[in-house]
């Protein structure tokens, strides 16, 4: 209580000192503000860019894909004391269903970490129209569940979002290639004796070349019969709440279901490592800007301690302890950081607004409240740390010498 009340005095003295050295205070504030503005703007820019890239990537992908485990040759172990020579042909991975997928799917529905579970049956086929044919990937979906994985509705450019009863949705590139329009017929062949004619109900454009040229969305049942996998599914697509935990959750799910689980992080490793490198370079910028801000504050306060040597002596003689003097200068450092960061945040808001309004409009930069609070905390902490050395010097001044200092 007593300490808190005395803090009022230390605060008052610090503020008076800052107000008296107005031009010095203003200059260092500008320095801190510029530093904080750079940090906030660059961080927001990179955050915006990265979330934009991830959004685009994950807009057309499941976060985790569950696949049946690879088929391997079971080799009998050699009896002890014998040498075994083995010539092995790796097995071809035929299209096959996930065992007990209904049970697995029901179990996964109960997992709180997963926000969507969608069984899918998928396999190769030819799409034929007249003499032209294209190789395609059939994707049999339960629409309601699949929409929670990929919001197909956003990508429909013609027709309707509809599968089942002989209806299919195809990508724009495939439609162009085969000259198909909504309402046209399309023959799908999966073998010499297995084929079907479907009606093009909708055309989508996911914006990924491979998918727009090859995906054909069908009803789950029809796909199962076309691929000769009655009642089976080949993939279970999953979505998680926090995309960056996908890898960890994938490992858990794999252990739980003994299926192969691929997270988007594993399948997009190049993208992820590029994003990591980008984050690292951002962090370097932040560290060096924070360092230069810290040295700026430290040097201004060092000069201030010299200028105020005599006043420090007077304060000591009128009852200030070393700790009080220490705190007076620490507070000044903290105020530099805090106030400077308030201006800096304002400036960065302006910069972001300019970018969002007049910039290339490729993506939108949001400034999160967390970022603002973190930047202000970082700046204030930097101010306090930077003030440590000059404050100690002020506190350790010999009052007798300080008072006589001209």
């Amino acid at each position: 209580m007593r300490r808190l009340r005395r803090l009022w005095t230390e605060w008052t003295i610090a503020v008076h000192f800052l107000r008296e050295g107005r031009s010095q205070t203003a200059m260092i504030m500008v320095g801190v503000a510029v530093g904080v503005a750079v940090i906030v703007f660059v961080t927001a820019l990179i955050e915006g860019l990265q979330s934009n890239i991830i959004e685009r990537t994950l807009g057309t992908q499941a976060h985790i894909r569950l696949l049946p485990p690879d088929e391997v040759n079971q080799v009998l172990p050699a009896p002890a004391g014998t040498l075994q020579l083995l010539q092995e042909d790796k097995r071809a991975q035929r299209l096959r269903s996930i065992n007990n997928w209904q049970q697995v799917s029901a179990t996964l529905d109960l997992q709180p970490l997963l926000t969507a579970v969608s069984p899918v049956v998928s396999g190769p086929a030819f799409a034929r129209r007249g003499a032209a044919f294209e190789s395609v990937a059939l994707v049999g979906i339960d629409v309601e569940r699949y929409l929670q994985i990929i919001p197909l509705g956003n990508y429909i450019i013609a027709g309707q979002l509809r599968v089942g009863a002989g209806d299919a949705m195809i990508g724009k590139l495939l439609a162009d290639e085969l000259g198909l329009r909504v309402g046209d017929k399309l023959r799908l062949e999966t073998g010499p004796l297995s084929n079907a004619v479907v009606n093009v109900a909708g055309i989508f454009q996911l914006g990924v070349r491979e998918l727009d040229a090859r995906y054909v969305y069908l009803d789950l049942k029809q796909t199962q019969s076309l691929l000769n996998l009655p009642g089976g599914v080949t993939v279970i697509d999953l979505r998680v709440a926090d995309i960056f935990t996908a890898e960890r959750i994938a490992t858990q799910i794999a252990r739980l279901t003994s299926l192969k689980a691929e997270s988007w992080i594993a399948t997009n490793s190049q993208l992820v490592s590029a994003l990591t490198a980008q984050s690292m370079s951002t962090n370097m910028i932040i560290i060096f800007v924070a360092l230069s801000v810290a040295f700026g504050i430290a040097s201004v306060l060092s000069v201030s301690v010299v200028q105020r040597t005599r006043e420090i002596g007077i304060l000591r003689a009128t009852g200030a302890s070393r700790r009080q003097i220490l705190r007076v200068f620490l507070i000044q450092g903290g105020i530099f950081g805090l106030l400077g960061s308030v201006f800096g945040v304002a400036v960065s808001y302006a910069l972001v607004w300019v970018f969002n309004t007049f910039g290339p409009q490729l993506f939108y930069i949001p400034i999160s409240g967390t970022l603002v609070v973190l930047a202000m905390l970082l700046a204030t902490l930097t101010g306090l740390v930077a003030a440590a050395v000059p404050s100690r010097r002020a506190a350790n001044l010999d009052p007798v010498v300080a008072i006589r200092y001209a």
Binding site: F17, T318, R322, V400
Partner: protein, 236 residues
């Protein structure tokens, strides 16, 4: 046990050296024994370099003695840490320096309140009233809200005296308080010390070069080369 009830201050075999352990080590005070009573009004005189200011700084707990003991209000001070010394200094001692030494960033009344603020935080209403009364006592009630750089030298020195008295100290230490004032202002300032000594009953120890000033005090302590050579009551 010696009886300290009548003494504000008692020095026992007090020594002070500088540059300890270095080749140029010098002892400035060579074993000082001194008592200051509760209502004493004493002048400390002596030639330049005799150790007057050093003695005053040691008495004011701004500087630590090398050897010997200093009792302030009966308490031995040699074993106290900075925090305890600061508290005792704040409670028991008021300082007035030759150069009026106010904090330029604060107004006159804020300067007067500074010792209370440093000890207790935000000043209470009675404290502010007390500070106004002290400013009035030194004739500056109109300048309460004025910054020091708009006051004359004599006015600043009077603010400094009011500041020294705000904690109602038992001992007022003054280092050449009239040293850079003209004769007329110096006399006014000296009269203030006199008045506060009588009215508030605080002991005053005043370092001075000015023989007219020392004669006007009740007691003169003469320090030469770090030794007290004479200590006598002045005839009135």
């Amino acid at each position: 046990m010696p009886d300290y009830s009548q003494d504000v201050l008692r020095l026992h075999a007090l020594r002070k050296s500088y540059n300890i352990g270095l080749p140029n080590e010098t002892e400035v005070l060579h074993g000082i024994d001194l008592e200051i009573g509760r209502t004493d009004f004493a002048a400390l005189i002596g030639p330049s370099g005799s150790g007057k200011s050093t003695l005053l700084n040691v008495i004011g707990l701004l500087d630590k003695p090398t050897a010997g003991e200093l009792y302030l209000l009966g308490q031995p001070t040699s074993t106290m840490d900075d925090e305890a010394r600061t508290t005792l200094r704040g409670n028991a001692i008021g300082f007035v320096f030759q150069f009026h030494h106010l904090i330029q960033a604060f107004t006159a009344i804020e300067n007067v309140l500074m010792p209370l603020m440093l000890a207790h935080g935000k000043p209470s209403q009675p404290a502010i009233v007390h500070a106004r009364a002290l400013l009035a006592a030194v004739g500056l009630e109109k300048f309460a809200g004025t910054k020091p750089n708009q006051l004359s030298g004599g006015q600043q020195q009077r603010v400094a005296i009011a500041r020294a008295l705000i904690t109602e100290p038992a001992l007022l230490l003054a280092d050449e308080p009239t040293g850079n004032l003209d004769t007329h202002t110096a006399a006014e300032v000296f009269d203030l010390f006199r008045r506060f000594n009588r009215e508030f009953g605080c002991a005053v120890l005043l370092v001075t070069h000015d023989p007219r000033l020392s004669v006007a005090c009740d007691r003169t302590i003469n320090l030469v080369d770090g030794v007290i050579v004479s200590d006598a009551l002045n005839k009135t």
